[in-house]
């Protein structure tokens, strides 16, 4: 069990303007779950892409069982025994599971044989999956199973997983971990990329920590505290937000029996959602992505209109108002998708500041744009939220994800809203910036705003929420005080009743569903 499977020796890869990996070295042993830790932009993705043959290193070498290993393309890496589950799935919604798996194979067997193999592998590893279901109908967790099974059918020696739990409920995470432990027991090595420290402590045998492209240390996760690992990742001590307890003020945002169809054919219909948020309160809404988060944000921001009284601000029905009319009365929102929704990729930061700031910052006069005012507003956001950019004339797409996120959140927070709805406020943002964004939300609440934070990061929600609820298939669970909730209770609130139970490994007589 102690033989080295893959040895990485001073791998270096530079892109124009940035060294993604700078002499990174570490070993992965056989039958080991090895964690690769680091903030966004630390070089984790580049490193695994080199192992998987997607990117060629500038210098350095890799040894596989002591033999030189330099895959020219993913096919060569797969032939050696490397398999990878990407963070973003490459599945076709309109095809069924078996067809999707067949598409990724060099020499696919007959559909019936393949379906039987998918069935047997999925049962052997406790990942229940019906090969004939259409992928468009699957939850994110089930889609990930398709990707994992696609890899397992290749019988890999090394399985690379890129942030696998970001889309899973706690129960689904448990199922995944069972599977990974089973694989480890069979001698398969796993390279596990994440920045969720508790998971790594629970699962991984070894951890390598990257910061700014360099290997800054390794540790045995079980023997290291989460805080120590985080500090190695960030390079300085973390700023923990301080929650100033609020005795709830008056109810500002009131949602009653909100039901609405999604504008997107693969979207989720909102079903009978009711909640209220008081002045100075932060309501955290958890749930797995794709369970109505986008639609709820749209209904609150005004992109999705409802009948007037369904959404009320200070007792006045606003459900029929559009986004700008709601901005005028102090209701602002920051959607999840930064490029293309919260911001226009090819437009400058000044133009993007105008995008939502026009109304409250009074940036237009009889329809004519006050560009000087818009530039000042953009520069105020850049300065106060530490957005790293050479200037406000830069296109939004030129900013890194984290910097653009700071801009998007800053743009709404600085407009001093009464009600703020944010979806995934710190997605893809490094730890220091995430702490700053959360602090700005807490400050805003302390000044009396009512805030709804929709997020998939439970740690984040537990840290800043006064009350917590979860979305599941367009329904909202009971909303409960966040203090004192256990992880099991949260898991149950996040529900996901379908496909959650671990499959019975020896149950061979599962009825075959006829595909719809």
């Amino acid at each position: 069990m102690t033989e080295t499977l893959l040895s990485i020796n001073s791998l270096t890869k530079a892109y124009p303007g940035v060294v993604a990996n700078d002499s990174v070295s570490f070993d992965i042993k056989e039958g080991e779950v090895h964690a690769l830790l680091g903030e966004n932009g630390a070089g984790k993705s580049t490193l695994v892409k080199m192992i998987y043959g997607l990117v060629k290193p500038d210098s350095g070498e890799m040894l596989w069982h002591g033999q030189p290993f330099a895959p020219a393309e993913p096919r060569a890496a797969r032939a050696t025994g490397v398999a990878m589950v990407f963070q973003h799935f490459s599945l076709f919604d309109a095809l069924n599971v078996a067809e999707n798996v067949a598409l990724g194979m060099e020499d696919p067997p007959k559909m019936g044989d393949l379906a039987a193999r998918i069935k047997s592998v999925s049962e052997a590893y406790g990942l229940p999956l019906d090969p004939f279901r259409t992928v468009g109908d699957l939850s994110a967790g089930e889609r990930q199973r398709v990707e994992i099974i696609r890899c397992l059918l290749q019988d890999p020696k090394l399985l690379i997983m890129d942030e696998p739990t970001s889309v899973l409920t706690p129960q689904e995470v448990d199922i995944l971990f069972e599977t990974l432990r089973k694989l480890r027991a069979e001698g398969t090595s796993i390279l596990y990329i994440s920045h969720k420290l508790e998971e790594i402590r629970a699962l991984c045998d070894q951890a390598t920590i990257l910061r700014l492209g360099k290997n800054v240390g390794s540790c045995v996760p079980a023997e290291t505290s989460a805080r120590q690992m985080a500090e190695m990742m960030v390079g300085d001590s973390l700023q923990t937000p301080t929650r100033t307890a609020q005795d709830g003020g008056e109810v500002i945002l009131q949602v009653s029996s909100l039901s609405a169809a999604s504008a997107n054919p693969f979207g989720t219909r909102l079903k009978d959602i009711s909640f209220s948020v008081k002045s100075g309160e932060i309501l955290g809404l958890g749930g797995v992505a794709g369970n109505g988060q986008d639609e709820l944000l749209a209904a609150l921001s005004g992109e999705l209109k409802t009948s007037s009284d369904v959404v009320q601000i200070r007792g006045t029905g606003v459900g029929h108002l559009g986004p700008n009319e709601r901005r005028a009365i102090g209701t602002l929102a920051a959607p999840e998708e930064r490029l293309g929704h919260a911001a226009a990729p090819n437009m400058s930061l000044v133009e993007n500041a105008l995008l939502t700031g026009a109304i409250r910052q009074s940036l237009t006069d009889r329809g004519f744009v006050n560009w000087k005012g818009a530039t000042e507003f953009a520069e105020e956001i850049i300065e106060k939220f530490d957005v790293r950019t050479p200037g406000s004339d830069r296109a939004a797409r030129a900013l890194s994800g984290g910097n653009l996120q700071k801009f998007v959140i800053g743009r709404e927070v600085l407009q001093n809203p009464d009600v703020l709805i944010v979806n995934q406020p710190t997605w893809g943002v490094d730890a220091a910036a995430a702490a700053a964004i959360r602090q700005s939300l807490l400050d805003l609440a302390a000044n009396g705003a009512a805030i709804v934070v929709i997020s998939q990061d439970l740690d984040e929600l537990m840290e800043i929420s006064d009350r917590f609820g979860a979305l599941n298939e367009g329904r909202l669970s009971d909303v409960r005080p966040a203090a004192g909730l256990t992880i099991d209770e949260i898991g149950l609130m996040m529900g996901g009743a379908h496909g959650m139970e671990v499959a019975q490994v020896n149950q061979g007589d599962t009825a075959q569903e006829v595909p719809a």
Binding site: V55, K56, P323, N324, H341, N346, A395
Partner: protein, 360 residues
């Protein structure tokens, strides 16, 4: 190995340079085409680009530049607003025809009364006619989700039939000895869109085109509506989040482009053309699409592109006459211009890397 690499920031320099480089490459490729046809390429290019401006008969051709460029610019400005927002009005030719019919119809209804009010009324009727014709695809799109490209294009052919029916029926000149076509408005002082300064080609349609260029520039750069148009084209979801009402925007952009095309038709029928006839339309509405893109959907660019396109038309006609180049060769030449422009457009957002390997 050649690889394309996305630029982090669109290149300002290339966005200005591409039209010029496209013209130069078109000259080279066009020269090859002409020499393959057995003509002297240098002479052909000189005939097309130089003679209309500085040749022996330039005094005749220079006013033609404005006469042909004016309607192209006026229509292209309207189209560019919609194109910026991702609304594709391909039917400007039909709106141009209907504008001409409505404007001429109003003028002819007053014949032979003379009054200073007649021409302004005709202008309004022309704009209204083009607007109404463009509202058909616009309303069908916002109410039933039809494709405005197909509907507006098909309405061009309906408009052509309407034009033929008008020339043979309702608007036919009662004193025309049975020939198809209306009375000639050039002979009806109150309805004649005459040259403002004789011998320059400058008529009210050219004035309208210049005003449209300025208005479009102000709209796109200084007004929130222009910002919303650009935003909708760049990122439709961000535009909805920014409070843009897509329905209103479709109606606005289609309406403006239809009204401007209708105006162009009215100024043409009451001026250079003079009468409603079966072959009144000569494709300005379609060529304006090329002009809009050649001008990079920018008002000033469209002004220059409209004049350039007019130049290739006039130069092409001279080349047909003096060098007996086939008309099809001139059309290929104009097609090349658009082709090279669109190809080179890539360089604004991408850069080309040579001999770099590493990414499989």
């Amino acid at each position: 190995m050649i690889a394309l690499e996305k630029r982090p920031q669109p290149s300002q320099a290339w966005s200005l340079l591409t039209p010029l480089v496209a013209v130069v490459i078109t000259m080279i490729a066009g020269g090859l085409l002409f020499s393959a046809l057995g003509k002297n390429p240098i002479e052909a290019i000189r005939t097309i680009f130089y003679d209309p401006l500085f040749g022996e008969f330039a005094f005749y051709y220079r006013p033609q530049l404005l006469v042909k460029g004016g309607p192209l610019i006026l229509i292209a400005i309207g189209l560019s607003l919609g194109f910026r927002a991702g609304i594709w009005n391909i039917g400007a030719e039909g709106q141009y025809i209907v504008g001409a019919i409505c404007g001429a119809g109003v003028g002819l209804a007053f014949y032979p009364t003379e009054s200073a009010f007649i021409f302004p009324l005709m202008v309004m009727a022309g704009a209204l006619g083009g607007w109404a014709w463009s509202m058909i695809p616009a309303l069908l799109k916002v109410k039933f989700g039809t494709n405005e490209i197909l509907v507006s294009l098909m309405l061009v052919y309906v408009a052509e039939q309407l034009l033929a029916s008008m020339s043979l029926g309702l608007l036919k000149n009662p004193q025309g000895f049975g020939f198809p076509g209306s009375r000639n408005l050039q002979d009806y002082a109150s309805a004649h869109n005459a040259e403002i300064i004789a011998g320059t080609g400058m008529h009210w349609g050219i004035v309208a085109a210049f005003i449209a260029v300025i208005m479009a520039y102000v709209l796109l750069n200084k007004h929130i509506l222009g910002f919303n148009i650009r935003l909708t084209g760049e990122a439709p979801r961000a535009a909805r989040f920014g409070g843009v009402n897509p329905t209103r925007l479709v109606v606005f952009c289609m309406g403006v482009s239809g009204a401007l095309a209708g105006l162009a038709g009215l100024f043409e029928v009451s001026g250079p053309s003079g009468q409603i006839s079966i072959d009144f339309n000569v494709g300005y509405g379609f060529t304006a699409i090329i002009v809009a893109f050649l001008g990079r959907l920018h008002p000033v660019g469209i002004l220059l592109a409209g004049l350039l396109m007019a130049l290739t038309y006039i130069g092409g006609e001279i080349a047909q006459g003096t060098l007996s180049l086939p008309a099809a060769a001139i059309q290929v030449f104009q097609g090349m211009l658009l082709f090279f422009l669109l190809v080179l457009d890539l360089l604004t957002n991408y850069r080309i890397r040579f001999g770099k390997k590493g990414i499989a």
